[in-house]
């Protein structure tokens, strides 16, 4: 953060936002990691814990909104301070959404745990989650250091997640066609994969926000896209 304000309590306000966001970031990271672990291990107890933790992020987001509105009203922030505060609001929303997605994965653990979990299916998901979690961790570092370069490189890497998600999508479709008994589990896993891919998107959003907060400039709107699943179809049975 740049040098101190003449009014020191202004710095306290901004520090509050930063600290609260880091806490939210930590919780979001943990929730996603635990939810995926619970899925892999069919651990419903752990999944239950993830579900209950979501409340922390909801409260965090609300607290940040309240504080940000109050600071704007009280201080009429300008330039980098204003960007910082608006950035905090946006990042809080993204982190809250990450928490929701983690929670949704955890809910599916409970839904699918009764079924025999095809190990090989879960493995692909684990890899996807690792990538998304790395993105999330690094974007939180980029925020902590206000590093536009790091933020930019994170955004570039989202392409990788999209590509893996696309191949996972294809794989799950194949399993469903192989054996209709896989359909329930695979559908849930597909949603889990989608959730993880969305977590990567939120990390990208945060990266864009960090870049803006740090530089006052927006990154170009177009970024690499490698998610083709929106147009993908399974061949009709017996068509080949």
């Amino acid at each position: 953060m740049p040098e101190a304000h003449t009014v020191t309590s202004y710095d306290d306000d901004l520090r509050f936002l930063t600290r609260r966001l880091s806490e939210m970031g930590g919780i979001a990271e943990r929730m996603v990691a635990d939810a995926v672990a619970a899925l892999v291990n069919a651990d419903t107890g752990s999944a239950q814990r993830v579900i209950s933790e979501d409340l922390l992020l909801d409260n965090g987001e609300r607290e940040i909104y309240d504080k940000a509105v109050l600071v704007i009203a009280k201080r009429q922030p300008m330039a980098s301070d204003l960007r910082e505060i608006i950035g905090s609001i946006r990042i809080a929303s993204d982190l809250e959404r990450v928490g929701d997605l983690g929670k949704n994965i955890a809910k599916r653990v409970i839904a699918v745990h009764t079924m025999a979990q095809p190990r090989k299916l879960v493995r692909g998901l684990e890899h996807l989650a690792e990538l998304a979690l790395t993105q999330l961790k690094e974007v939180l570092d980029a925020f902590a250091t206000r590093s536009p370069d790091l933020a930019n490189s994170i955004r570039e890497r989202d392409e990788e997640i999209d590509a893996i998600y696309t191949s996972l999508f294809r794989e799950l479709l194949t399993y469903m066609m192989e054996d209709p008994r896989n359909i329930t589990a695979c559908t849930h896993l597909l949603f889990c994969a989608k959730n993880i891919e969305r977590i990567g998107d939120h990390a990208t959003n945060i990266a864009e926000t960090v870049y803006y907060v740090a530089t006052g400039e927006q990154l170009a709107a177009e970024r690499p896209k490698d998610d083709d699943t929106a147009t993908m179809v399974a061949p009709a049975p017996g068509s080949d």
Binding site: R75, Q76, M78, A79, L82, G216
Partner: protein
């Protein structure tokens, strides 16, 4: 001339014609002390230019160069050039009284003459020989008060003293008085610093409306006011022009660290 060169020349001419006043290497001395250092600043036509900076930065000094108000201070000396529509206002043949009719001024504290509202307004046009008959005077009073957004509030008491109005009304009376002589440029030196928020809002609304017909330069200590009313902002510090640019950019992402520190409240 090639087509591209012609186009460039036309663009330059258009840009040039958008400039109402231009300060070139303006330096100001009060006795031995230099208050402004080689300031180069353009004032664009039909726009509001805000001058900001901490106390003693030279913003008011620069403002006062634009209608030679500094002439009234004996020990003050101005170097460099200030032009109005391309003409140097410090040239020897310039009639300062006529200049100040073209470049009017509104001060920090409302300073109506101790006369009636009506007299406050007709005084200027009369001494400049712009009005002589009663009908002309009535017309200029009504027109100026309407433009200053004050007419409806005072139309039934035009013969009452201007000093009997509220602070905000007095300031708008002073603006009406400045407009009465049909100036081209209006200089405002912290016009709202003695006003309450409601009166301030009325004056800001007025500034926005006046911009259509006039060029306005405003000195203000309120960052928010500068951000609200101006299209261009110039930041001064210790007698130097630090940064000048689009107001929207200056208050969201200024280039200069001094500007950044000043507008975010991290100064000194």
């Amino acid at each position: 001339m090639s087509e591209a060169a012609t186009e460039k020349a036309v663009d330059a001419a258009i840009e040039e014609s958008a400039i109402k006043m231009r300060g070139t290497d303006v330096s100001v001395f009060y006795g031995e002390k230099q208050a402004l250092f080689d300031v180069n600043l353009d004032v664009r036509k039909n726009s509001v230019t805000a001058l900001i900076g901490p106390s003693g930065c030279g913003k008011s000094t620069f403002l006062r160069c634009l209608n030679r108000m500094n002439d009234t201070i004996d020990i003050c000396r101005v170097n460099g050039e200030v032009t109005l529509d391309g003409e140097n206002i410090y040239a020897p043949m310039i009639d300062v009284v006529e200049l100040r009719a073209r470049v009017g001024m509104v001060f920090q504290k409302p300073n109506p003459f101790p006369k009636s509202i009506y007299e406050n307004i007709v005084y200027g046009p009369r001494i400049h020989g712009q009005v002589s008959t009663r009908a002309e005077m009535d017309e200029v009073v009504e027109r100026s008060l309407i433009k200053a957004g004050l007419f409806n509030e005072v139309k039934d008491r035009l013969q009452e003293p201007g000093t009997g109005l509220s602070g905000g009304q007095q300031q708008r009376l002073c603006i009406a008085r400045a407009i009465a002589v049909s100036p081209e440029v209006i200089l405002m030196d912290e016009p709202c610093s003695a006003l309450d928020p409601i009166a301030t809002a009325k004056v800001e609304e007025l500034i926005d409306e006046l911009r259509v017909n006039y060029t306005i330069v405003i000195v203000t200590h309120s960052m928010q006011q500068a951000a609200r009313v101006s299209q261009r902002t110039a930041m001064f510090h210790l007698g130097y022009l630090v940064e000048e640019g689009d107001t929207d950019k200056m208050f969201t992402n200024p280039d200069n660290k001094l500007t950044q520190d000043y507008i975010t409240g991290r100064f000194g």
